[in-house]
Amino acid sequence: MRRPRLNRDALSTAILFTPGFLIYLALMILPILLCLIYAFYDWDGIRDSMSFVGLENFSEAIRDRNLLNSLRITAFQTIPGTVMVNGLGILFAVLVNRRGGLTNVYRSVFFFPMLISAVAIGFIWKGLLTYSGIVNSLIVQLGGEAIDFIGSPRLAPWSLLLINVWHDTGFVTVLYLAGLQAISPELYDSAKIDGASGWQRFRSITFPWLAPAFTSCVIFCFTGYMRLYDMPMVLTSGGPAGATETMAILVIRVAFSQNKLSYGSSLAIYMLVIISVFAVSLTWWLRKREEKLII
């Protein structure tokens, strides 16, 4: 039985749906496709001529030492970074979680650094850690020797890692805190009555119930660090000697500063594939774990 209002309904649904979706297709999906297409040519982004080169860019990229270097550097920022931020985040959240007292003060202080842009944080820490910076002048005043925190290729990645952890842990703590506060206290009460110790309570109640927050936070950190650009760029411009050149910094440098748009596009595609594979597997694995823990 045909409903006479069908066409008008469909039209109104279309009006709601189409603008947003068209914007997404045109401004996100289309560029990805274009990126893929560029990678098959040898365009520099400026000249009007370009020729099809097939998989040449991709095969050259896979042997590119800069790409492998950036993969190593990105992994060094991502894996320890995610582990530290989430480990500390859960620890701090458990410590902060009380009713009353200074809890809200702690929460605001922890939350605050995340609001500040990576550029501002980067310059502040640069002023602190640079060889002639504030931390070193304090060290020297106390009789020690200045340390090249961000000028040494050996120390720079560590400085970057720790600054990132400093920047993000507070925010993650606040997220976990919200997750903790959603756990009903009766669970803890009955566990205490049964004689469970603090650690046992954490393992059987707290950690399982934090699983959804854990999934969100880990994915958020992981994908964020894999795409890291702002902080290393401001702190050391990807240096010294490429010691902090993450994948994103490499791709942008190749495509824009070196005017190798097509080659840069192939690097970008590799970056997209790597991140997608890791993000999807990690999400799938964490969600499975979530389901097992919260039956």
Binding site: R5, R8, Y24, M28, S117, I124, L128, A213, S276
Partner: protein, 285 residues
Amino acid sequence: MRHRERIRPYEIPGEVVRNVFLILICLLFVIPFYIAVVNVFKTREDIIRYPMAIPWARLTLDNLKRNLNSRSFNVWIGYGTSVVLSSLTVSFVVLTSTMMSYVLCRQKHRFFKSAYLLLIAGLMIPAPVILLPIVQVLRRLHLMFTVQGLLLMNIGWYMPFASFVFVGYMRTISPQFDESARIDGANDLRIFFRIIFPLIGPAIASVVIFVSLWTWNDFVGPLIILGSSDFYTITIGVYKAIGQYVQKWEDVFAVVFLAILPVIVFFLFMQKQFISGLTSGALKG
């Protein structure tokens, strides 16, 4: 109803240790900002000699005055561009994304389910993959080095996140509302604007806070797309003013201070809304 947990006497040492530890951690978070802010108002000699102290007699506003409108950096252009960009991005994103999310949330057809997956996939796309081609597209449209061009890129970029939040939130609104309105003869448009939109306030607040903050702090986008334009966001303005060599700390800290001051002020006044808006939005799904 909140009530303080009674602290039993044997728990006092534990409480003291816990709070001391947490206060130390708080200091760790606060001290770099303290150093940055305190040194804005000191002369260079004072910064070098006493980085952590506050020489009350010798405080000065010179650093700030010098950097408000120097040759390379006009803080008002920075603020203005950032405010315009943030507000326009947020407006477009919220409007189009709420409408689309309503459809994505209610329609059961496979097309819409796939469309939603496609949108969520956008959450993990790295910026370079979008930036490289968008520069070419904007160039063809003569929108490179313009705020409008950057605005276009921003709107697309935040659609996945906004849709994620809105769909998640709308799923908690009972379809009964839709059904009763539909029986009365309303179509989707009317249901959306009359019923759904008024109900998603908290989700909109979350998205507004997140997207304005991220747009304000955005670095790569304006760096590449605005480039050497006459307009710069406050973040890029700071970056260009300081450049690669950080020697004149009194200027560095002054400029950084100008950049973060609006955010600090906002935060101090709206702490509660900030935190609840962000945590409720981020924990959905």
